[in-house]
């Protein structure tokens, strides 16, 4: 591959471009798409293994959070009745107790978590190993900007030539560059926008994921924290000034001025002025 070697310029065999540079790019790209579809097939919606009760709990937490944040937009009675549904000292939702699940007692939960992580790493390592077996030892291309010698081990994995300029890239490093650089392109190509727009499915998925996430934790502690948060939440009418605001807007709007007004208008105008 290396025909001449001077201080600055190397001449590379054009066949390397066709048979090494492009294949590495294409294989990384296509392989990751395959991995995406394979994981989609195998992660069927049922493997999260959550019970209806767990989903109910996680959704109750979501509703309590929303009540704290947006409670001012509903009437006071509605706010209080929701609050008492969650926080009633006798039979409030957050007063219930759930059996605590110790993670060490349930090895399958831990195994599942490990498997989830491994599912991403193993294909990467497999294809990386295969690439280094087939394509190792090529110098493929040059980074179009100068680099210091510190980058040599990063960009020239598998090529140990001391006097070589640090901007030359070896085949293994190109693979790593592809693996990271292409990551943000997959959402565009795999079209996750359409999935995001399907809100019903999205919500169902989210609820399940959230419940699965909570599965590992002590529900009683979470309930207690949420109970405390809701206990200190006070009702604050967010729509108090909405009538004034609306009328103010209408007074400013000149085209509406021509139509006959209800009698209350004058009163409000006087108040605003």
């Amino acid at each position: 591959m290396l025909i001449t070697m001077s201080e600055t310029e190397l001449t590379l065999d054009p066949a390397t471009r066709l048979w090494v540079l492009l294949p590495i790019f294409l294989i990384t790209f296509l392989f990751n798409i395959c991995v995406h579809y394979i994981t989609t097939i195998f992660s069927s919606p049922h493997d999260k293994n959550v019970t209806p009760q767990e989903i109910k709990d996680s959704q109750a937490l979501v509703r309590a959070k929303q009540l704290i944040r947006n409670g001012g937009l509903i009437p006071k009675e509605a706010f209080l009745s929701r609050k008492s549904y969650f926080n009633d000292p006798e039979d409030g939702y957050f007063k219930q107790t759930r059996p605590t699940l110790n993670m060490l007692q349930d090895p399958s939960a831990m195994l599942n978590m490990q498997m989830g992580k491994m599912a991403h790493i193993i294909p990467m390592m497999l294809i990386g190993g295969w690439m280094s077996y087939v394509f190792s030892g090529f110098l493929l291309t040059k980074v179009p900007f100068p680099l210091t010698a510190r980058f040599k081990p990063m960009l020239q994995t598998g090529v140990d030539i001391e006097n070589l300029d640090a901007s030359w890239v070896s085949s293994m490093s190109l693979y790593i560059l592809c693996a990271f650089g292409l990551r943000s392109i997959y959402p565009i190509i795999l079209g996750e926008t359409s999935a995001a727009l399907d809100q019903t499915k999205l919500f169902a998925d989210q609820a399940e994921t959230m419940a699965a996430g909570l599965k590992q934790q002590d529900m009683n502690k979470i309930f207690k924290a949420e109970w405390e948060g809701l206990e200190v939440a006070c009702y604050e009418d967010g729509l108090e000034k909405v009538l004034d605001q609306f009328l103010k807007q209408e007074c400013l709007n000149e085209t509406v001025e021509e139509y006959p007004r209800p009698e209350t208008k004058g009163k409000h105008k006087a108040k605003l002025a």
């Binding site: 540079l21 947006n70 291309t141 040059k142 179009p144 100068p146 990551r183 926008t193 995001a196």
Partner: protein, 100 residues
């Protein structure tokens, strides 16, 4: 009092990052084919990033900041992350066109 739907917020953010990624891929390829080296390439990336920010601001309107998690995400989201994509395409096309 704010009441903004979470999925829509995430959708907005996703649209921004789509714009950023596409621009990074296209600018990277352009820089590679033109054979830009060194600082010139980074100047091209930064100037395109600024241009995209300006276009996004013009399209979304000045008071659209509340539709994003933070005020700056409309014009800053993904600018630094996409530089990896930019460098990949820059290197790849520079290699294909100019090195051999």
């Amino acid at each position: 009092m704010e009441s903004i739907s979470e999925p829509s917020l995430r959708f907005n953010l996703q649209q921004i990052s789509y714009c950023r990624t596409t621009t990074a891929v296209l600018t990277g390829s352009t820089a590679g084919i033109l054979g830009l080296t060194g600082v010139l390439g980074f100047v091209l990336y930064l100037s395109t990033a600024v241009l995209v920010s300006v276009i996004l601001l013009a399209k979304a309107g000045a008071n659209s900041a509340s539709f994003f998690p933070s005020k700056s995400s409309l014009y800053l989201q993904g600018v630094l992350e996409e530089i990896v994509t930019y460098i990949l395409f820059w290197t790849l096309l520079y290699g294909i066109v100019h090195v051999y």
